[in-house]
Amino acid sequence: MVKENAKIMVHVENLKKDFDKLEVLKDISIDIKEGEVVVLLGPSGSGKSTFLRCINRLEEATSGKIIVDGMDITDKHTDINKAREDIGMVFQHFNLFNNKNVIDNIMLAPVELKKMTKEEAHDKAVKLLERVGLADKAEAYPSQLSGGQKQRVAIARALAMNPGLILFDEPTSALDPEMVGEVLDVMKELAGAGMTMIVVTHEIGFAREVADRIVFVDGGYIVEQGTPDEVINHPKEKRTIDFLNKVL
């Protein structure tokens, strides 16, 4: 849901990322507006995860520029921890803190980073659990949850910091098929509420329904991008067509 004169939330300019000799991202430039939902498609190994991880500097860009909400992520002088408070991330394998129960998973960062008092963080966590439909699981430990429940807690944990942007790296790939829907529903609700989201997923149905824009990456470049209708129904590039033939 992009507003008329929305500001640029993510600005990526000539991003290049190598792992030693392997050139994963060769030259990526993209602007993402506040409230926009961008779905990233691409074959395995095309660097989708790497792209997301460069945005919150879990990986350091080899060259190029990344600006998120006015903060220069690629500048060494930027306080990356401060910047990350504004960039949520949801992982394929959930990565809930195994030593903490659900409510403490959600409260840890806001309290530890002094964003909120314990009471405020607790209230917020309770509200977020209601929002993702897990109000009754506050005291459960991650090992007691199903995959779908874990991922919904992980989303709540990311939301607790009030981020301006959330990165999703294949949030439903590790789930049993019957649990995919419950996670996608939470993400749809988030998109509807105006959250800026970059989503790597193979769920074409979700992309078609929720994405404002679909970006297809391959070989280290953005091959094609546009509305879901343009990219999924009327792809122009051969590589996009081949890819869609495989996943559809």
Binding site: L58, R84, G88, N95
Partner: protein, 223 residues
């Protein structure tokens, strides 16, 4: 046998006390040393890794007895050359230093392995929320690492307890040293060393039994 226990029993217990003090002090210091060098070893800074590896390799490469001699005799001699004539170490100080350095090196490896056994995603999730490396270690990684480390730490505890006997060579009045004194006085080597051996065994076996129980409790709490 009875005679020895009658005349030397309290002294043997006192020596056991010294052994335990030496062992506990060393373990405490070793935990700190181990944590520091483990953190150096898992850090992403090459310089830190280098320092960590050098320490662990160096200390593990020197027999404890040589390390003890070096600290107890060598260090004061060295200080004298530097002009500090009054520098002296008590046997307890030197013994604790030698044992902590030695045990600390092994502890560093145990803690390193524990940290590395925690899934990388835990650290990444913590960092992605804006927590610093230190906060992520303290709140997320180390608490999980400790659970996997406990059996090895207990094992190391027992090894260190046995290693205290090596420090009889610098005259520290611990259990083995007491054995030497008694057998020297009474000429009853067989009985003396049997008693000393049994005392060690009783302490170590009960410690490891207690440890097993703790370990089992932790594993239950884990689910």
């Amino acid at each position: 046998m009875i005679q020895i226990i009658q005349s030397y029993g309290t002294m043997i217990l006192a020596a056991l006390g010294q052994t335990l003090i030496l062992c506990l002090l060393s373990l405490l210091v070793a935990m700190v040393i181990g944590l520091i060098f483990a953190l150096l070893n898992v850090s992403h800074n090459r310089g830190c890794n280098f320092i960590g590896t050098v320490y662990v390799d160096a200390v593990r490469g020197v027999p404890l007895i040589v390390l003890a001699y070096f600290i107890y005799f060598g260090l004061p001699a060295g200080m004298k050359m530097l002009g500090a004539v009054d520098f002296r170490l008590t046997a307890l100080q030197a013994g604790t230093a030698a044992l902590s350095m030695n045990c600390g090196a092994y502890m560093a490896e145990i803690i390193r392995a524990g940290i590395q056994s925690v899934d990388r995603g835990q650290m990444e999730a913590a960092r992605s929320l804006g927590l610093t490396y230190g906060q992520s270690m303290r709140k997320v990684v180390l608490p999980q690492a400790i659970k996997t480390m406990i059996p090895s730490i207990i094992n190391q505890f027992i090894i260190t307890l046995k290693d205290t006997s090596i420090l009889s060579v610098i005259g520290f009045p611990e259990l083995t040293n007491m054995g030497k004194t008694i057998s020297g006085n009474t000429f009853k080597s067989l009985e003396t060393w049997a008693i000393i051996g049994i005392v060690y065994m009783v302490v170590i076996v009960s410690l490891s039994k207690a440890a097993k129980r703790v370990e089992r409790k932790l594993n239950v709490g884990r689910l």
